[in-house]
């Protein structure tokens, strides 16, 4: 008994130092040495390419808000921006915007949830007002609330909206979407995706 107490104390100390701090700090050192950009969060001039952003409030002179850029998943737009309570994680907006650090997380609304039904209806109305016939991705939220990507189809349905607001011909926008499409990893893993931030940066260059 006593010897086990003593052994436990020594082991707890040694394991905490070695498998906690030495492991994590050595890992941080190696990561910073080899992959500094990724280890720091893939930060580029306009934000992290891995963290989704809110594109719904972009001012487009003469056109509805947000109609001159491509949107990501509605993690923080539509009903989700107005009613932060639908986020289970303490009511935070998962897109840590405007200086307040929030929690990542999904809406956690069940498959037969009345709130999910109502929110989806509201998002469909939102998209129809912008002249877009939305895909499922554009009316459902992601698991992290931070999804930086959309599928090529999700971007293509927004092309008429963006074309109208920017005056760029639809054919050129479709070509842009194709150019910004990343194929499935290794050709078969997951699905093809477009990073919305990178797509909008490319769009800004086009204007």
């Amino acid at each position: 008994m006593l010897i086990n107490l003593r052994r436990s104390l020594v082991a707890i100390f040694a394991f905490t130092v070695f498998f906690g701090f030495v492991y994590a700090l050595a890992g941080t050192g190696v990561a910073q040495l080899l992959f500094r950009h990724q280890a720091d969060g893939s930060i580029t001039a306009n934000g992290s390419t891995l963290i989704g952003q809110n594109w719904a409030a972009v001012k487009c002179p003469g056109h509805p808000l947000g109609s001159c850029v491509f949107h990501g998943r509605p993690d923080d737009t539509g009903p989700y921006a107005a009613n932060a309570k639908t986020h289970s994680s303490g009511g935070d907006n998962p897109l840590v915007a405007n200086g307040v650090s929030g929690e990542s997380g999904a809406t956690n609304l069940g498959p037969r949830s009345k709130a999910l039904y109502d929110n989806t209806k509201a998002l469909v109305r939102y998209w129809h007002a912008l002249g877009v016939n939305p895909t499922a991705d554009l009316v459902t939220t992601s698991g992290s609330g931070l999804d930086p990507d959309v599928t090529p189809q999700d971007a293509l349905v927004q092309v008429p909206m963006v074309s109208k607001a920017t005056g760029i011909p639809a054919a050129r926008l479709r070509k842009l979407v194709a150019k910004e499409t990343n194929g499935a990893a290794l050709g078969f893993l997951g699905s093809a995706y477009i990073d919305v931030l990178q797509l909008n940066e490319a769009l800004a260059k086009l204007r």
Binding site: L34, Q38, N46, G105, G110, P111, V124, S144, L189, S191
Partner: protein, 564 residues
């Protein structure tokens, strides 16, 4: 088509680790691998123990070492969480973690559960993430594997009073198995985009849309690698492996599935190798794979259907249920991921289980209800399926009227009682606690969703914690005194209520001599036995949980046209 190749690649990868990691683990625990002996020796000297014969422990001493060590580590971790505000590595200046939440969190990590009632990036300092949580992701995994190896020694040893040395087993496990793989995997996931920094949050302004974001960061990548390899599952961020900073690409997503499944499956090879009959290990593997494959199939199929609420709102999808899923992973792989994490004790999520279709959510829930043996957690999966195998042998023996034997060890009243105890503790504690929660106000206040789904959220929470899984239907507000304390009880009983009977079995079996196999011996390495074991797993899980399931996912599936 992409999903087909994902499965093919995963099978090849797991086949390799089954054979070679399995053999390596057997060599580690039999003391045949020595290249880090220089690091082990001074540590053993400090503990006044070692791999020598004189330090071998009988099962009671092995079990008391496990319990005392875990209890003290629990107290130590609790203390660190309570004084978090005064400790370094805290760039966001988080204060002390509340008492009930500290209790739930530390129990959760000591028991290999990794249930998260806290929001990682808004509650815990880097010090706590590293010095409390990451340490336990090594230690709790090693404790589970050590117990499984002890039980394997119960079968492989003859007339032996001892079953190994706890201190040597956990040290060797962490040093030779967990550490090297987790470190290499950590480098890979960071290379793919996972964050690994101590620099604190970053504030960045986007000139294109005028949005200023404050983005939390931290040492997440290397935590993610060990949390998956040790089937822990509790990540740095609240969204866990759905968060792009922990699981940035479809490649890391597959890597995490492989890491999680590799030890639990490979331990069946280790078992076969150590008892000198790889066929017996392969029989257990077959039982695991058949159940696992069936669950992946129907869960992926269910998620390929539209979400009822979204479809009713007028949006139909050709890919399936996109609510709560990330674009980069795709839907079938998200379902595969979820089944992999709920049939091990991992419980990490890359998509929101709460938003799965009723049958998809049932796939995750029922995977845990089968006792997590297909393949189960690191170590806990093997010792629990061996408990089921003993029950299968007993039932088989009753049917043909012979004294049951497994690997030449007579299975007698004592072993059957211990196995029965090990198999019934989990359903008992899960169902009783669920019943308490739905009976009182503090429990009923928890669910986010209404109707049958709200009940499923509660049932899911206690099933997950009782199985030391940690997966959640995260709509449930678990960070209340009620759920924190009840959950802690659930996790402790679910862990030690099975681990201690398994060690007792190890002691009782090790003391027996081996009866040579004869023509009348009931074979335990053939198709018949695989079928019998699958039957025992499904029947025990099915009979105990069917009434509860029918109040949750089944009602929900049948409520066509109704929303709650």
């Amino acid at each position: 088509m992409g999903f087909f190749w994902t499965i093919v690649v995963l099978i090849v990868l797991l086949g390799l680790t089954w054979r070679y990691l399995g053999a390596y683990m057997a060599a580690v625990f039999e003391g045949r691998v020595q290249f880090l002996a220089w690091a082990e020796r001074p540590f053993y000297r400090l503990l006044r123990t070692g791999p020598a014969e004189e330090y071998e422990q009988p099962w009671k001493r092995y079990a008391s070492s496990t319990v005392i060590f875990s209890a003290l580590f629990l107290a130590f971790g609790y203390l660190l969480l309570r004084i978090q505000g005064s400790l370094p590595l805290n760039p966001q200046h988080f204060g002390a973690v509340a008492p009930a939440l500290s209790l739930n969190t530390i129990v959760s990590f000591v028991t290999n559960t990794n249930w998260q009632n806290y929001g990682g990036e808004t509650t815990l300092s880097y010090f706590s993430q590293i010095g409390v949580l990451t340490v336990q992701q090594f230690v709790s995994a090693a404790v589970g594997i050590a117990a499984a190896i002890a039980l394997v020694r119960g079968f492989s040893r003859r007339s032996s009073p001892t079953i190994g040395n706890f201190w040597v087993d956990i040290t060797r496990c962490m040093l030779y198995i967990l550490l090297p793989v987790a470190f290499v995997a950590g480098i890979i996931v960071v290379g793919q985009g996972a964050v690994q920094t101590l620099a604190g949050p970053v504030v960045i302004h986007d000139a294109l849309n005028g949005v200023t974001q404050t983005i939390p960061r931290g040492p997440a990548g290397f935590m993610a690698s060990i949390m998956q390899f040790g089937t822990n599952g509790g990540g740095f961020f609240n969204a866990d492996l759905a968060h792009p900073f922990e699981n940035p690409t479809a490649i890391t997503n597959l890597l995490y599935i492989w890491l999680t499944l590799s030890i639990p499956f490979a331990l069946t090879y280790t078992f076969g190798k150590m008892v000198k009959s790889v066929r017996h290990g392969a029989a257990l593997l077959a039982a695991m794979v058949i159940i696992f494959g069936a669950w992946v199939s129907f869960t992926a199929y269910a998620e390929h259907q539209n979400t009822p609420a979204v479809a009713a709102a007028g949006v139909h999808s050709s890919v399936g249920n996109t609510e709560g899923k990330e674009v980069r992973f795709g839907i079938p792989t998200s379902a595969l991921f979820n089944v992999s994490m709920t049939q091990t004790s991992d419980g990490a999520v890359d998509s929101a289980t709460d938003s799965y279709t009723p049958i998809g959510g049932f796939g995750a829930l029922s995977g845990m209800m089968l006792g997590e043996v297909t393949p189960g957690g690191v170590g806990s999966g093997l010792y629990t399926i061996l408990i089921y195998a003993i029950i299968a042998v007993f039932i088989g023996g009753l049917m043909i009227g012979r004294t049951p034997e497994y690997l030449g060890k007579k299975i007698q009243a004592k072993e059957v009682k211990l196995a029965g105890l090990g198999a019934l503790v989990m359903p008992l504690v899960v169902l009783v606690l669920t019943a308490i929660a739905v009976s009182i106000h503090a429990g009923r206040a928890g669910p986010l969703n209404g109707g049958p789904h709200g009940f499923t959220e509660i049932l899911y929470a206690f099933t997950s914690q009782g199985n030391n899984n940690g997966s959640a239907m995260a709509g449930l507000t678990g960070n209340t005194a009620f759920y924190n304390v009840l959950g802690a009880i659930d996790m402790l009983i679910g862990r030690f209520g099975i681990l201690i009977p398994a060690l007792a079995l190890a002691g009782s079996l090790a003391a027996k001599h081996v009866v040579p196999a004869s023509l009348g011996t009931f074979r335990t390495d053939n198709t018949m036995f695989i079928g019998l074991t699958i039957g025992v797993i499904i029947i025990i899980g099915g009979l105990t949980f069917f009434p509860a399931i029918s109040l949750g996912p089944i009602v929900e599936q049948l409520s066509r046209g109704r929303f709650f």
